[in-house]
């Protein structure tokens, strides 16, 4: 039942995404000289417009299916969503996403890759209680140095 409730919302989201893509694609150049010569169906926006329309219809279809199969939302559902978002599993998911985001968006490319990776791995292992602090630091140090060596030293790939 929860899946259908989620489908109802996702269907609306997919239709909205399709609509946004459609509006953007309609604003592509349809009057290029080459397009006028070869036909409007060769325009850069032709396929994106078609796919966007299909996505809008699919989103509507998904929502309709969800609505008919018990996906209707009631007021009490909102408080249940709040409870689910505060659950330990949701917090663990949020923490993984947060640690990954900090590592990728804020650390990689700004700090030396080996240091950034060491900090990320140590923080990850510490948060998820992988062991005692010296073991975490040791594994994070060995793994970050080894990965940097394999890529930079052996595969000749420059580090980010």
């Amino acid at each position: 039942m929860w899946l259908r409730k989620a489908d109802l919302v996702t269907g609306v989201g997919i239709s909205a995404f399709g609509t946004a893509a459609l509006l953007l694609a309609l604003n592509f150049r349809w009057d290029l000289a080459a397009v006028q010569q070869a036909g409007w169906y060769t325009a850069p926006g032709f396929i994106p417009v078609g796919i966007s329309i299909v996505l809008i219809l699919q989103g509507i279809g998904l929502s309709v299916h969800a609505w008919r199969n018990g996906g209707r939302w009631q007021r009490a559902d909102l408080s249940r969503v709040g409870q689910a978002l505060g659950s330990p599993a949701a917090r663990r998911v949020a923490m993984v996403a947060l640690l990954l985001s900090i590592y990728v968006f804020l650390m990689v490319g700004r700090l030396h890759f080996t240091l950034a990776s060491f900090l990320f791995m140590a923080a990850f292992m510490w948060f998820f209680r992988a062991g005692v602090w010296w073991k975490i630091l040791f594994i994070a140090a060995v793994a970050s140095v080894a990965i940097s060596f394999v890529f930079e030293g052996l595969a000749r790939v420059p580090l980010p």
Binding site: Y41, P48, H65, V96, L100, G109, F120, F151, P160
Partner: protein
């Protein structure tokens, strides 16, 4: 003589360095497949960057070794832990783990290994037999057929890989196609969905996107439960099955190999569906279907033969039509492009030795898989005790490096994580990953060929319904969509009712 060319390629590969690399890659593949949360696709995607600097043959040795090893490696945790290491080993758990609980784990691993080897070789034989004919057939394809092939591939993949509604698979496929249109339009050189950013002009690189789709959700899902219950069941004893015992399984192996190869050849579907299909067929045709799920060697061998034979099957459309048969071959396609190899119908004429080369590598990788698999049982059992809290952050760092290593572009790393996080949410709502990836790969084929077909025929859609091959594809597309509608289900139900009613009245 094609067979001589094939054995010539096998002989060319038998050098100390190549064999060393092949055995090392296959071992790594087995470990990748054995660790729950890591997949064959992720393994190949991560290694693609590292192999960029190698020559094409050696790069393929590494990637095929990883591929074959990882598909097989999923068997270990399936038997020892009741957790499939990869999705393709999910069917293996049904009988593999009950056998381990009965104290027959060693023998189960032996049967699984031999079944996997037979499956890999069966897939190879079908690949080598059919690939030249399909290449010849593919030469008759025009833009019309390529358009419909791409569309059919995405739709059938969406239908077969979706665990919930087929519509979700199709949505994932359409999202993939839309993502593939980001960047410069190949026909007119016009930037699409670039938002004025120069970095987006080259489009979304699909290897980082694949690492995101297959890597990030796996990491998050692995860390989601508060604790993991891992009880590794190991025992010593004879691993290799006796010939007399295995001989009885040979017909089953051939049936499972045939169905695995056929399912593997369907665009984007892959080894997991092949494994389930082979398992299902084995149960239906078995004299003891009641033993399935309770520790049946037939079930175990069917699942393992099915998933490994799908490797050869998945390579057929990849090499002959440039359409990947499974998610790992989708990454392999990217790796081939990176090394300047253009799979498709022209490959057989431009580089006729290439298919033999791939076949030779697959043969040796199959041998390496069997040897390493039988020798590594204890090592894998030890590695399986490494907690996820330690290896998941290491995998995350490898995902970052894998995404970066292809273009040395930080934007690729951002794309990898962005797509990965969004796709995690979709995974929670049971959207399959394979159609999205296939859409990303086949999107440019669909986009370019559809517009070209219309341009060549002055905007007429008539060739789509008059060319014989196009009509077959169109009918297949129509059936794929129609088979998921309530109308079709009602129609099917009434036909079955009519047939059974007719039989009853006849009796």
């Amino acid at each position: 003589m094609p067979i001589l060319t094939f054995f010539g390629e096998v002989a060319a590969l038998i050098t100390p360095l190549t064999l060393l690399v092949l055995f090392a890659a296959t071992t790594l593949g087995i470990l990748v497949g054995a660790l729950p949360g890591l997949t064959a696709t992720m393994g190949i995607a991560l290694l693609t960057g590292i192999t960029y600097g190698l020559d094409t043959r050696m790069a393929l040795v590494v990637l095929m070794g990883i591929y074959v090893g990882a598909i097989y490696g999923g068997t270990f945790p399936a038997i020892m832990l009741n957790i499939p290491g990869t999705a393709s080993a999910a069917a293996t758990t049904l009988d593999g783990h009950p056998l381990a609980l009965r104290g027959e784990g060693a023998q189960a691993k032996g049967f699984a290994t031999v079944g996997s080897f037979v499956g890999a070789i069966f897939g190879l034989l079908i690949l080598m037999t059919l690939a030249p004919f399909i290449s010849q057939f593919g030469l008759r394809f025009t833009s019309v057929e390529y358009t419909l092939l791409a569309l059919f591939g995405i739709l059938i993949c969406g239908s077969l890989t979706s665990q919930d509604l087929p519509l979700k698979g199709w949505i994932a496929g359409m999202l993939g196609i839309l993502l593939s249109t980001v960047g410069v339009d190949p026909l007119h050189g016009y930037g699409r969905f670039t938002f004025g950013t120069a970095a987006l002009l080259t489009g979304i690189a699909f290897v980082p996107a694949m690492i995101g789709v297959f890597g990030i959700p796996q990491i998050i899902q692995a860390m989601k439960p508060a604790a993991e219950d891992r009880q590794v069941i190991t025992e010593s004893g004879r691993i290799l099955p006796r010939w007399s015992a295995f001989r009885k399984m040979l017909p089953l192996c051939l049936r499972s190999g045939a169905i695995g190869t056929a399912v593997g050849a369907i665009p984007g579907v892959g080894e997991d569906i092949a494994s389930w299909s082979a398992y299902d067929l084995a149960r239906r045709t078995s004299r003891h279907p009641e033993k399935f799920g309770q520790g049946s060697y037939e079930g175990l061998v069917a699942a393992e033969t099915g998933n490994n034979s799908a490797i050869g099957g998945a390579l057929i459309p990849l090499l002959t039509l440039a359409v990947p048969g499974s998610p790992p071959t989708a990454v392999l396609l990217g790796a081939l492009w990176l090394h300047g190899v253009r799979p498709g119908p022209l490959l057989a004429t431009e580089a006729p030795e290439f298919i033999h080369q791939i076949g030779a590598i697959l043969l040796l990788a199959g041998v390496a898989m069997a040897i390493c698999g039988l020798l590594l049982t204890r090592v894998v059992a030890r590695i399986l005790t490494v907690p996820r809290e330690i290896f998941m952050p290491i995998i995350a760092v490898l995902c970052v490096m894998g995404a970066y290593a292809l273009n040395f572009n930080r934007l690729d790393v951002w794309v990898m994580l962005g797509i990965g996080l969004i796709f995690y949410l979709l995974t929670e709502m049971r959207y399959p990953a394979a159609p999205l990836v296939l859409g990303l790969i086949l999107g440019p084929i669909l986009d370019e060929n559809f517009r070209r077909a219309l341009a060549v025929h002055d905007g007429s859609l008539l060739p789509f319904v008059t060319r014989p091959i196009a009509v077959v594809f169109l009918a297949a597309i129509g059936l794929t969509i129609l088979s998921q509608t309530p109308l079709w289900k009602r129609l099917r139900g009434s036909i079955i009712c009519a047939v059974s009613g007719g039989r009853r009245s006849a009796v």
